[in-house]
Symmetry: C2
Subunit: 355 residues, 2 copies
């Protein structure tokens, strides 16, 4: 078995995340793992009878890999170059991720939008609004494809021209949950991607969703909680965000609405009260400079800045990305450097000044 096959097989066992894999590799080479006996596996701290049984009895990964290929689903090993770096930095990330659609460098700037499945018109309306406005500002909108709030957030992002959105599913990518969102999922994958850590045909088990939530927050700079009842899964996402060092943003609401209670509790605990997209942007270093009136930017500068990330870019790549004349891009880069928003590294490449 090659590396991908071994990782898919371990993932099919349902018992191995990156944390256990790390310990496993302290004792054995990866290529030896498929041949290990239960007794050998149990030498690894944290692997007991159940885990060792699950690993030994995990099915042949061949059919799963073929099935993925047949459906244009990529399987990204956590060791590979396509695995999202933000997720790889999570303590216990999935050892493989299934991906339908595509991600781009632009997805490095992302905001999660989450909320209770029970929600009000207010919550749905604002999820749509924030989805659309944040996507228009070139932030990728990440959510969970669930009914109401998640759905509104994805739809909002799709309403923005070139808006990008990513869905993390709590089931395998060959299932659609909730079923009425099949069409929406197609649209999301055409303008972004759907991810899952669960094998392709996994059912949407209740236990999957809290796990899934850590990836929503993990991929983003911060998470906006639109509405959340006191025991909502959205609060789990907010807890993950805090643990991962991501920002937590909350929409306030009427104190008479049980669905705003979770948001109010988070605000009392220090989450940021949000009324406008600018409230989110100003917390994200690369976008903070866009929030007027701190540093007024021309539309041209703004267009160039939106394509810049913390990773150095050449003027040529920016010209390609912005579809602007090379001289305009060069001029904008010069003035952005003067305004302190952008800096040049030693190689003469441009990057955002905040990092």
């Amino acid at each position: 078995m090659n590396e991908l096959e071994i990782l898919v097989r371990l993932n099919l066992s349902g018992m191995v995340g990156s944390s256990l894999l790390r310990r496993l590799l302290e004792h054995f080479e990866l290529r030896r793992v498929p041949a290990l006996s239960r007794r050998e596996l149990q030498r690894v701290p944290g692997i007991g009878p159940l885990t060792s049984q699950a690993i030994v009895e995990a099915p042949d990964p061949g059919p799963e890999i073929e099935l993925a290929a047949r459906h244009q689903i990529e399987i990204l090993p956590s060791t590979g170059p396509l695995y999202p770096p933000a997720l790889r930095s999570l303590y216990d990330h999935p050892i493989v991720l299934y991906r339908r659609g595509a991600t781009t460098e632009a997805d490095a700037l992302a905001v999660g939008i989450v909320g209770s499945r029970d929600c009000t018109d207010y919550g749905r309306r604002q999820a749509l609004r924030f989805g659309q406005e944040l996507a228009r500002l070139r932030l990728t909108v990440v959510s969970g494809l669930a009914r109401w709030i998640d759905t509104a957030a994805h739809r909002g992002a799709l309403l923005a021209p070139e808006g990008r959105t990513i869905a993390f599913l709590g089931c395998g990518l060959l299932r659609t949950y909730p079923p009425e969102n099949a069409r929406l999922l197609d649209e999301i994958c055409a303008r972004g991607a759907a991810f899952s850590e669960f094998p392709l045909r996994s059912a949407p088990e209740t236990v999957n969703f809290p796990r899934r939530n850590r990836l929503i927050s993990g991929l983003t700079q911060g998470v906006l909680v639109v509405e959340a009842a006191e025991k909502s899964g959205a609060l789990i996402t907010a807890d993950w965000a805090l643990e991962q060092g991501r920002d937590v943003f909350c929409l306030p609401g009427s104190i008479e609405s049980p669905l705003s209670r979770g948001c109010h509790r988070l605000i009392k605990q220090g989450a940021k009260l949000v009324e406008e997209p600018a409230d989110i942007l100003e917390e994200i270093p690369v976008f903070a400079s866009l929030v007027e009136p701190r540093i007024p930017l021309t539309p041209l500068e703004r267009g160039v800045l939106r394509r810049l990330t913390a990773r150095p870019s050449t003027p040529e790549s920016l010209t390609l990305l912005t579809r602007l004349p090379a001289t305009s891009v060069e001029h904008a880069l010069e003035t952005l450097v003067t305004k302190g928003v952008v800096r040049r590294d030693r190689a003469g490449l441009y990057l955002t000044a905040d990092k």
Copy 2:
């Protein structure tokens, strides 16, 4: 002229607060002030032609003092024992206060409730609720008798059995503004008091209200802003509260309501988001211990604690106030001391442990 007459006369000039009076007394004895010429007055830094003219031309205080007496209105000089200590500690407090009704030691624990005159049903409903619940918990509800929010706050306090409420007016106490609140004002004065720093027949001039707001916040431990548009006078009260070191509490609301914008701005700046009366109580040291589950108290202990303030009380006075048997009060005091909520001073009197 006696001291009260001189202070009333200076107050009638409309130009002398405690800050200017302090400087005046650095140069002259109070009894000499009525005889001073404009030229002599102008020796005092801060007294120019306008102020000196207003002082010299201020009317005889006799008729004002008689008028007050005829209407059972007391005039409290800032130097006298009846002047509220919390207001005397303000940097530029009124040199006299007119009072209709009565204040008691219980008013040392007070919360202001303020809001835009424009408001929603939500704001009125919550002002009534918080007025009633805070008054039930033995906090005196302080507001400004204005339409809607203020009115609802006062009415809420009056709904609580023995609930106390105080109104600060932006006009003289012989005027009622708004006129439809004449009956409400009578009820307030029967269960609390109305105060004004303005001469008895002063009209409700626009400039009076921001001045008046500093007294609302000044008399309280903190101010609850129920609803406030972006340029509401309620925000002025909140600013005064911050300047005076009082807490600022805010009700959140829909981000689609312009009347919650002021509250949201304050929360972003650090004001405390409030959903329940407990959110307010826990910031007020003497009441913090009541908020479950920090220190569980029996109903008896609670009844006794409610009557205790930062000023030492005898068990006898507490027996009178609580209308409980003396032995029960003594037992409750003992257990409250054990629980660390109450302490005895050197004279053996009881006071709250937080101060």
